[in-house]
Point group: C2
Chain length 351, copies 2
């Protein structure tokens, strides 16, 4: 398996569709700009989809799950068994992202890339097991080169399935006990910010837990410090299978020309890795929400991203992105279905 | 016609349903609090609806339209004819709120309380004409006592129709060229803040236009200064038919026990009047978004309200509330449909 595909070019945006959408927005029966971000979203989607009137009828959600060796350092309040338990919960429809996918009438797939224990009997789960979790990155690189390649490719495959089935937007989600520690370490390496700026409570650490997590990240950054110039090598050493899969899916979406709606902290770190590998990929990323996880705002700043929602969510699984999707759909409906001043016989502003 | 109904008590919240909803949230398969405001919304709705599992399947949208005498002072970039033109656009499905109502599968009604010109041929519009617009409140009170009574009652009637048809939530919207000037004047009178803190660009004034608007408000506040202690008298002197109708609808919703999703600047001023008349009404109000109209944040502060969205919308019509509705519906779906830790066999946190 190769990584050559990562260097293929991203799809171009359609400038004439963007201009057509801008012109349309200016003619709709409302004061210019009065729909705020809903206007800019519709225009960006028009440029991505090469259509003056974009659509998001068919949405695809892939949730990647994997375990993390660094969980041995005691950086989560939940036991590691929860990763597989939640995979089961995803498959049976009881998790937040399962409920959201059903409400949104979205395609929903779960990809188990390596939980410590496996359960191959689960219906509706893609079993793409790489290993029973990553290695503990305070001791050694989280992944081998082959494992990183497999994880990135799993993301590429999900993006390909989403496109082949005719979906209009891709949402990635993640599950993995310990993965805010991995994501925080990656963000430190990619932004140069200190660990205490990026480590947060995750699923619910108290202050002494956050301090412990900060120390674990500092230890890992020290161990790997001479190898953190390259984003792929950084991902291999500090990442997780599910984070690498998200990175691969985002790059593949940009190459295939399907918009991505990025979820919260961990997904945004995967987006930061993707943009570090190919800065053009950013054109295809829409950011759904600002997580309550304190490091997220710093990752968003590094991406120069303005997310749509700020409602204190911090669950992951793709749940923030799924929650924002109806707003993007309404942005399209308003753009496509509102009357123009001429059609409606409404007088225009004299401003 | 009487105003006695305004002093009837608001419906009580159901504390046992609130507690049941809180207990349920704590058992769902997610870290506690990780769905952010979606959790508190579901719990508030449970208390309002008297059900541990609330629902918002059926939503009602009433848009009230009327003209304003103060438009003669040159405080809008749009001609006054636009109010009726937009009523026509609402009825024909071309306006933002029309598109949103259709997307949300909401009941949608338009109530024309008094545009300068009328068009009784319009299908689907409630013709409850009070007068061809209010009087210019820089010269005299905007309304007579009888007109205020009629406008408040029009709102009460809309709330009654919403409840009788079995709706789960009420959204009010407004249309009226000049109505940000009226709303700003009302907000000044109710909060004591100066006009330059509450006057903004509305549909698109430049700075000299905002300065003119500020002067117009100052002139009105001076004229009516001895009569602004009472919220109803303030509403009569500085309000508009559509703003008074919104106020009446909010109070009636609180009395009848149906949740209200409040839109932007003008709707929030109507809410401030409602809460000034009956502070208990606030328990029934959910705030949808922070408008780009600069005075809105000050009105929200006066209401101690935390709106859900902040996406630069400033259109009115109820559009911001309609845009936020899907998030409230997802809050209910997550609350009602997610599995508990016990149901899913997921281990809990040791925190």
């Amino acid at each position: 398996m190769q990584l050559d595909w990562l260097s293929e070019p991203t799809a171009p945006l359609n400038e004439s569709s963007r201009q057509a959408a801008e012109a349309r927005q200016a003619q709709l029966t409302k004061p210019p700009g009065s729909l705020g971000e809903l206007e800019s979203i519709a225009i960006r989607l028009a440029a991505m989809q090469g259509a003056a009137c974009p659509t998001l009828d068919h949405a695809h959600i892939s949730v990647f799950a994997a375990d993390h060796g660094v969980a041995a350092e005691g950086i989560s309040t939940f036991p590691q068994s929860v990763t597989l338990e939640m995979v089961r919960n995803f498959a049976r429809g009881g998790a937040a992202i399962s409920v959201l996918a059903q409400q949104l009438n979205a395609t929903f797939e779960i990809i188990n890339l390596g939980t410590v224990k496996d359960d191959e009997s689960l219906q509706g789960v893609h079993h793409q097991r790489i290993a029973p979790g990553t290695a503990n990155f305070t001791q050694q690189p989280a992944m081998t080169a082959e494992q990183l390649t497999q994880a990135l490719d799993a993301g590429r495959q999900s993006a390909a399935r989403a496109v082949e089935a005719g979906n209009h937007i891709f949402i990635g989600g993640e599950m993995g006990i310990g993965n805010t520690t991995s994501a925080s370490a990656l963000a430190c390496a990619l932004t140069g910010m200190p660990a205490d700026q990026l480590a947060g409570p995750g699923t619910g650490l108290d202050q002494s837990g956050v301090n412990r997590k900060t120390e674990v990240i500092q230890q890992a950054l020290k161990l790997h410090q001479t190898a953190l110039d390259d984003p792929l090598e950084t991902l291999r050493r500090l990442g997780g299978f599910e984070i690498a899969a998200l990175t691969g899916s985002y790059i593949a979406c940009a190459q295939k020309g399907i918009p991505v709606l990025v979820d919260g902290f961990i997904s945004s770190v995967a987006a930061l890795v993707a943009v570090s590998i190919d800065k053009e990929a950013k054109e295809w990323l829409l950011f759904a929400h600002k997580s309550a996880e304190p490091g997220h705002v710093r990752v968003l700043e590094a991406l120069e991203a303005q997310p749509l929602l700020d409602i204190g969510m911090r669950l992951g699984e793709g749940s923030g992105a799924a929650t924002a999707l109806p707003l993007l759909r309404l942005a399209c409906a308003l753009h496509n279905d509102m009357a123009t001043f001429a059609e409606a016989g409404v007088s225009e502003s004299d401003a």
